[in-house]
Every structure is written in structure tokens, then in C-alpha cells.
């Protein structure tokens, strides 16, 4: 049976060019970039080149990029790092109720350590208002951490406006751009963010690598201690080949961004057209103006997410109920709870389809048809 991978927001296939670049560099370069001999220096050179590509993609300087083991570490470093560095200036943090768990659980941990965290609510579309940030801001607020685009429903937050608002405040502004990076044009100077997290495996790069952009002079205490790598901001032998693969994935995604946006918008239309044609009752969750093009979260009244996913799976359609990290247990999504309230039917009947590399219009059409068929069968409509 032909299978269709519509779970690109969980993780994405590695681009063949990325594989090639890693293969090439692994065969040739294996020194430790911190070694002063020739083998080390050639590894250093390759690492520097990769870092430069990452920096350029968001308008940053090379020295402002801290390589990490992924998006989670980047988020944790930003949040714990700022909290540690600025605790003498205040203990108040602002975030939203729809963040990824890498942010939420870090904030919860800080609460246990005596910090005070405000979780901003979202509207039915999953969006916060700039006004609510303004109202929550206090003299002792040290950190505002708000995701760029939501991983479950795709809603994009007003990052630029919040950046403007925070320009004259002591609070450091962090955005988790893991889902948006590579699909949305991001310029750290336009957005006025101080910290920004990115993951490689969401954009067809290798797993196990990401970066944290740190604006020059942004106070940050390191999470890992040891050698002096990453300008003493992140100890550990640098992951050279993964950095090279990551940089290649960045190059490709930056080059093809517009084309991808267009393609995924088309995929959305195709998917929804099939549902319309088959007279399926559904509702798209998320914002209809500010959304990530590759994420399509749909609520199907009368369906139950668990059995729905099992049936999709048996029919070769790989989708998700929410984020993969929590998918193991089908607890109701905290994002949908924040949007619709506890007990809302959307919590039990929503599926996330996410598009990416390798999918064709035909694939999307067939996957939508299979989805429609299951809905009809299970709701007897």
C-alpha cells in the first residue's frame, strides 16, 4: 500500500543534498575543531562556514549563533539562561499558554524555583494580542518568550509588534521559531528579538542539531559547562557533520521558501476541496490570516481522535493528534484547550496534517480522499 507522510511538523525527511553534504564531509573531515593541528583546523573552517550560513539566514552575525543539540536545548538555554542571568533584576516572565513543552516545562520549573510566570491566553484562533503582552508587562519582567508559529495549529503570533513594544523595556525577548523557520522569512532586526530558537530536523536537516540566536550582549548563563566551545556559551565537542548538513538544509529552505509556501497553500486547498466535494463536515483550527502554510489542523465533528488516527494509519496516512513529543499519550492538547476551553469537542476530534518535502498534489488528493472515506465510515454519513 502506498503510504503518505503528512506529519512533517513532527519531523521531516532529510533532503538528499543534505545527505550528500554530510557524506562528503564525514569521509573527509574528522578532526576536533578545537584541536590546533591541521586536522582540527580544517574541521574548524567547515564549522565556521556552516555557522555563517545559519547566521545569514536570519540577518545575524556569526558570533551570535550558538549551536545546540536541537530546538529543545535552544529553548531551555534561552529561558534558564536569561532567568539565571537576570534574577537580580526581577523574577517575572511572560509566555503564552500555547507554547511548545520545551518552553512551558522550562517555565514551570522556574516557577518552582521562585519565578513568577504569566501565561497569556489566546483567542479561538490561537492568537495572543499585543495588548495582553503590554498589560502583563511589569517593571520586574525579565523575559518574554513567545513562539513564532504554533506547532499544532500553525497560528503565527504578532512577533514584530511585540518586539516593538519591548524595545524600551529591560525584558529580553525570546521567540521559539522552530516551526516557522525555513517557511517564513525571519529577520531578527526587523522582529527586534534578542533570542530565537531553531531546529534542523524540521527543515529537512539532520536530527540532533539546532541553534539559538543570541543578540550581542544579551545576558545568558550557559546550560552546559566544560570546554570553551561556542565562545564558552555551550560546552561539548562541536557536531561538525550535523552542522554542515544543517547549513545545507538552511540554504535549500531559504532558496525555496516562496515556492514551498505556494505549494503548501495549494496542498491546503486541494485537501479541503476534497473534503468539500465529499461533503464532509469539518472546521479548520487556527488563524485564517496568520498561519504557517504547512500545518493544517482540522476538527471533524463526530469523530474520535484515537480511533481516527488508527484508521488513518491503517490506510497509510501518517498524521498526528498534536505534537509528536506528547503524542505517545493522547492527553488533550494544551493548545486546543487554550483555544476552545476544557471539554470542547475540538479536543477530541482534531487532527494535524502537515506538509513537506516529497509530497505531490496527487499524494495530498489521495490522502484527503482516504481521510474523507474514514470520516464517512465512522460517522455513518
Amino acid at each position: 500500500m502506498q503510504t503518505f507522510y503528512l506529519d512533517h511538523a513532527a519531523t521531516s525527511p532529510v533532503h538528499p543534498e543534505v545527505i550528500n553534504s554530510m557524506t562528503e564531509v564525514m569521509a573527509r573531515v574528522y578532526g576536533n575543531p578545537s584541536s590546533i593541528h591541521a586536522a582540527g583546523r580544517s574541521a574548524r573552517k567547515i564549522l565556521d562556514e556552516a555557522r555563517s550560513i545559519l547566521a545569514q539566514s536570519i540577518g545575524a552575525k556569526d558570533t551570535e549563533i550558538i549551536l545546540t543539540s536541537g530546538g529543545t536545548e535552544a529553548d531551555n538555554t534561552a529561558i534558564f539562561g536569561v532567568a539565571q542571568a537576570l534574577k537580580s533584576k526581577g523574577k517575572h516572565i511572560i509566555t503564552t499558554s500555547v507554547e511548545h513543552h520545551a518552553v512551558l516545562h522550562a517555565c514551570e520549573q522556574l516557577e518552582k524555583a521562585g519565578f513568577e510566570v504569566t501565561y497569556l491566553p489566546v483567542n479561538e484562533n490561537g492568537r495572543i494580542s499585543v495588548e495582553s503582552v503590554k498589560n502583563a508587562l511589569r517593571a520586574d519582567t525579565i523575559l518574554v518568550t513567545i513562539m513564532y508559529g504554533n506547532n499544532e495549529v500553525g497560528t503565527i503570533q504578532p512577533i514584530k509588534e511585540i518586539g516593538e513594544l519591548l524595545k524600551d523595556h529591560q525584558a529580553i525577548f525570546h521567540t521559539d521559531a522552530v516551526q516557522a523557520y525555513g517557511l517564513e522569512k525571519i529577520d531578527i532586526n526587523e522582529l527586534h528579538v534578542d533570542l530565537l530558537s531553531v531546529s534542523s530536523h524540521k527543515i529537512n536537516g539532520p536530527k540532533g542539531i539546532g541553534f539559538l540566536y543570541q543578540r550581542e550582549k544579551t545576558p545568558l548563563v550557559a546550560t552546559f559547562y566544560g570546554g570553551s566551545q561556542e565562545r564558552k556559551r555551550r560546552a561539548g565537542t562541536e557536531n561538525v557533520h550535523a552542522a554542515v548538513g544543517f547549513a545545507k538544509a538552511v540554504e535549500i529552505s531559504q532558496r525555496e521558501m516562496e515556492k514551498r509556501q505556494e505549494t503548501y497553500l495549494q496542498f491546503r486547498t486541494i485537501f479541503l476541496n476534497v473534503l468539500n466535494r465529499e461533503q464532509i463536515t469539518y472546521k479548520v483550527n487556527g488563524d485564517h490570516e496568520y498561519f504557517l502554510k504547512h500545518i493544517l489542523n482540522i476538527s471533524f465533528p463526530g469523530m474520535d481522535v484515537e480511533s481516527f488516527l488508527v484508521n488513518l494509519d491503517m490506510d497509510g496516512v501518517y498524521a498526528s493528534s498534536g505534537s509528536a513529543c506528547t503524542a505517545g499519550s493522547i492527553d488533550p492538547s494544551h493548545v486546543l484547550v487554550a483555544m476552545f476551553g476544557k471539554g470542547a469537542s475540538e479536543l477530541r476530534n482534531s487532527i494535524r496534517f502537515s506538509f513537506g518535502l516529497g509530497l505531490t498534489k496527487e499524494d495530498v488528493e489521495i490522502a484527503a480522499e482516504r481521510t474523507a472515506k474514514i470520516v464517512k465510515r465512522m460517522t455513518n454519513s
Binding site: 557524506t23 576536533n32 578545537s34 530546538g71 536530527k207 540532533g208 565537542t237 550535523a242 509528536a324
Partner: protein, 379 residues
């Protein structure tokens, strides 16, 4: 090129690279996804975990994948300190640990923990008596490297483990980054460690891979929080290609352990004898009781970099001390702890063997080194 810097990093085995690339190509799904593809990838991950658990003799659920040795060491130290501070804030380690241990402890000292550092003798080995004397009721953690990365000293892990477990409630963390794959490294009840930390790129695996493993369930707080992967103890999408590649590297290292041990021992002993022919000009920091893949020596009144460059010109890659701090000019803390004579403090060179070195390279090295000594010292 003769690459004798395998303690800094190693060239990955072709099979390991192949595995890494294959999994990347064909099994890219997120192991936490519940669809069939995710389940399939998760099976690969669990198979890798099983293999490693089998090698180090613990249960699979006590093996966690990390981004490398530094993260594993930081995780062990911060995690145990945080979760056990109600019992005490006293910690014991040694003077010659890797920076990823020492720097973590410096941070804890600022947070009010009391850290004591065991001294070592001129062979780089701790005294069990001193360890026994320093253990207290409120000692919560003892960190000790199995093999020193700069000169190869082996610590008496078994004896230390017995003393620690008999006389305290402390958790025994052994940094096995330099020993795994070269010596027997495994859990062994009260006669072994409670926590083991391992790195992939030191055993011809790939960079960005590591393990922290536990003998049993113990009180440890996560270092990285989020999606709750790795039994809730290490969040972040698990890089399955890396995990599978690491399991493969561990297996290969274990399978060839005896053979490599014999080979390295022969080479090390042979080169020691060779260095001894230079008499007073060379001082050996390593001893024959140390791990056979590391041989540290120093040339009288010369700077390490001068020797490195002279060797490098002739195609031999060695290093001063550890790569992580090799850019710093100050004398290494290990050299200080060993009380090396001042004439030999600055000229310390580390030769470290790997699975890919050959006997022929040893002979070539000797000839090249003779040339270098003639050039630099006129002997």
C-alpha cells in the same frame, strides 16, 4: 598523515557512517509519533538502546541518549546535585577530571555545594584512603574519570565503588568517555559505578552522540525539559540515526576490545622504551599501568606547540593536552596535579592511538621523531 590524536576525536568507522546515513535516508520519522512509521523508527531506537544496555550490563530503560560526553557529565552532576540536596551538599571528585566535570562543579560551588578534590600521585592515581577519609554522611555524589584524557591514568573504580557504597549513600558517577571501548566498562552492583557517561566520537562513532546510563533507578533531575522523551529525563526529539550509529560504534569497539588492547599495549610499551633512549631529554607522564591508548611525554625545556608543529610538518598529528582547552596557553590542571618538574611542564605531548592506526605508523613515527629531536634539541 599519521593521526595520533584519537583521544581528541576519532575518524568514524565506515560501517557507522553507513548506518547513520541509511537511517537518515529511510527511517526519518519521529520515534514519538504514534503512526506506523513512527513506531517502526521507535523500534530501531529501542534496539539500539538494548544493544548498549547489554554491553554495559544494565536495563534498557536505564540507558539515555544525549548529545555527547559533556552533556552526559553535566547531566549526571547537576541532575544528582539538584535532586539530592535535601540529603546533603557534599560532593567528592578528583583534581584531574575533564573540564565538563570540573566546570560543572565550579558552578555548583557558587550555588553553595561543597566540593572536595582528591589529589593524585605522580602516576595520576587517587588514594583510596583519602577517598575513605573524605566520605561523609552528607556526601551525595562522587565523580571520577575512569581513564584520564591527558595521560591515561586508570582509577581504581572497583575499589572506590566498594568504599563509596559501604561508607556512604553517595551516587558514584564514572566518566568513561576515555575508557569505554578500550577497557572493560560495565555496571557491577556495589562493586561498580551507579552512573556511566560515554561519548560516541571517541570510539570511531560520530560527533553529537553520547550516553548517560544508570545501574538502577536513581534520584536525578533532567537537565533539558520539554516533550518528556527518554523516560521523562531528557527532552528533545531523539536523533535515531545517531542512536543507531552509536550502538554500532559501541558494538564494534567491544568486539575489538581485546585485540586493540593488545595492539595498543605493545605500541605504547615499545614507544616508551624508545623515548627512554633519549635519557634526560624526555620525561614520561604516562605509565605502563595506564590505559594503553594514551601516551603522554614531555621534552625538556621545549614548548608543546613547537613539537606539535615540527611533527605536523612531517605529517604526524598529535596534541598538547585535551582539545577542549588546547587553545588556552596555561599549563594544564592535570600536569599541575602530577607535580611535573618545571623543565617538563610546557612540553607535554599526548599521543593517542585509535583502531585505525597501524604498526607501520609506529615505526614511521620513530624515524620522524628522531629527526625532530635532532632539529629541536640537537640529539
Amino acid at each position: 598523515m599519521i593521526y595520533f590524536d584519537n583521544s581528541a576525536t576519532t575518524k568514524p568507522h565506515d560501517e557507522v557512517l553507513h548506518t547513520f546515513l541509511e537511517v537518515n535516508k529511510n527511517y526519518f520519522a519521529n520515534p514519538a509519533s504514534i503512526h506506523a512509521f513512527g513506531v517502526e523508527v521507535n523500534e530501531l531506537l529501542e534496539a539500539a538502546r538494548n544493544q548498549i544496555a547489554h554491553i554495559i550490563k544494565t536495563k534498557p530503560e536505564h540507558v539515555l541518549f544525549t548529545s555527547g560526553g559533556t552533556e552526559s557529565n553535566n547531566f549526571a552532576i547537576f541532575g544528582v546535585a539538584k535532586e539530592n540536596k535535601h540529603i546533603g551538599k557534599h560532593i567528592i571528585t578528583t583534581e584531574i577530571e575533564h573540564a565538563s566535570v570540573l566546570e560543572a562543579y565550579k558552578t555548583l560551588e557558587k550555588d553553595g555545594y561543597e566540593v572536595e578534590y582528591l589529589s593524585v600521585d605522580n602516576k595520576g592515581v587517587i588514594s583510596i584512603d583519602e577517598l575513605r577519609r573524605k566520605l561523609r554522611k552528607d556526601t551525595i555524589l562522587v565523580s571520577m574519570m575512569h581513564v584520564n584524557n591527558e595521560m591515561g591514568a586508570i582509577q581504581p573504580i572497583e575499589e572506590a565503588a566498594k568504599i563509596i557504597h559501604q561508607h556512604s549513600r553517595a551516587i558514584f558517577h564514572v566518566d568513561a568517555v576515555q575508557s569505554f571501548g578500550k577497557l572493560e566498562v560495565q555496571f557491577n552492583g556495589d562493586a561498580g559505578p551507579d552512573i556511566l557517561t560515554i561519548s560516541g566520537h571517541k570510539i570511531h562513532g560520530i560527533k553529537g552522540t553520547g550516553i548517560i546510563a544508570f545501574q538502577r533507578k536513581l534520584n536525578i533531575a533532567p537537565l533539558i525539559v520539554g516533550g518528556g522523551q527518554e523516560f521523562g529525563l531528557r527532552s528533545g526529539t531523539v536523533p535515531v540515526p545517531q542512536a543507531v550509529a552509536l550502538a554500532k560504534a559501541c558494538r564494534i569497539a567491544t568486539e575489538h576490545l581485546q585485540e586493540n588492547y593488545a595492539k595498543f599495549t605493545k605500541w605504547r610499551d615499545h614507544l616508551m622504551d624508545f623515548f627512554n633512549t633519549f635519557g634526560d631529554h624526555i620525561y614520561l607522564l604516562s605509565t605502563k599501568e595506564g590505559a594503553p591508548h594514551i601516551l603522554s611525554f614531555s621534552v625538556r625545556d621545549l614548548k608543546g606547540e613547537v613539537i606539535i608543529n615540527a611533527l605536523q610538518k612531517r605529517g604526524v598529528i598529535v596534541s598538547t593536552s585535551s582539545a577542549c582547552s588546547s587553545k588556552q596557553k596555561k599549563t594544564s590542571h592535570v600536569v599541575e596535579a602530577l607535580n611535573v618538574d618545571s623543565h617538563f611542564k610546557e612540553g607535554v605531548i599526548r599521543i593517542s592511538f585509535g583502531a585505525k592506526n597501524t604498526e607501520k605508523e609506529i615505526e614511521q613515527f620513530k624515524e620522524i621523531f628522531k629527526e625532530v629531536m635532532k632539529e629541536l634539541k640537537g640529539v
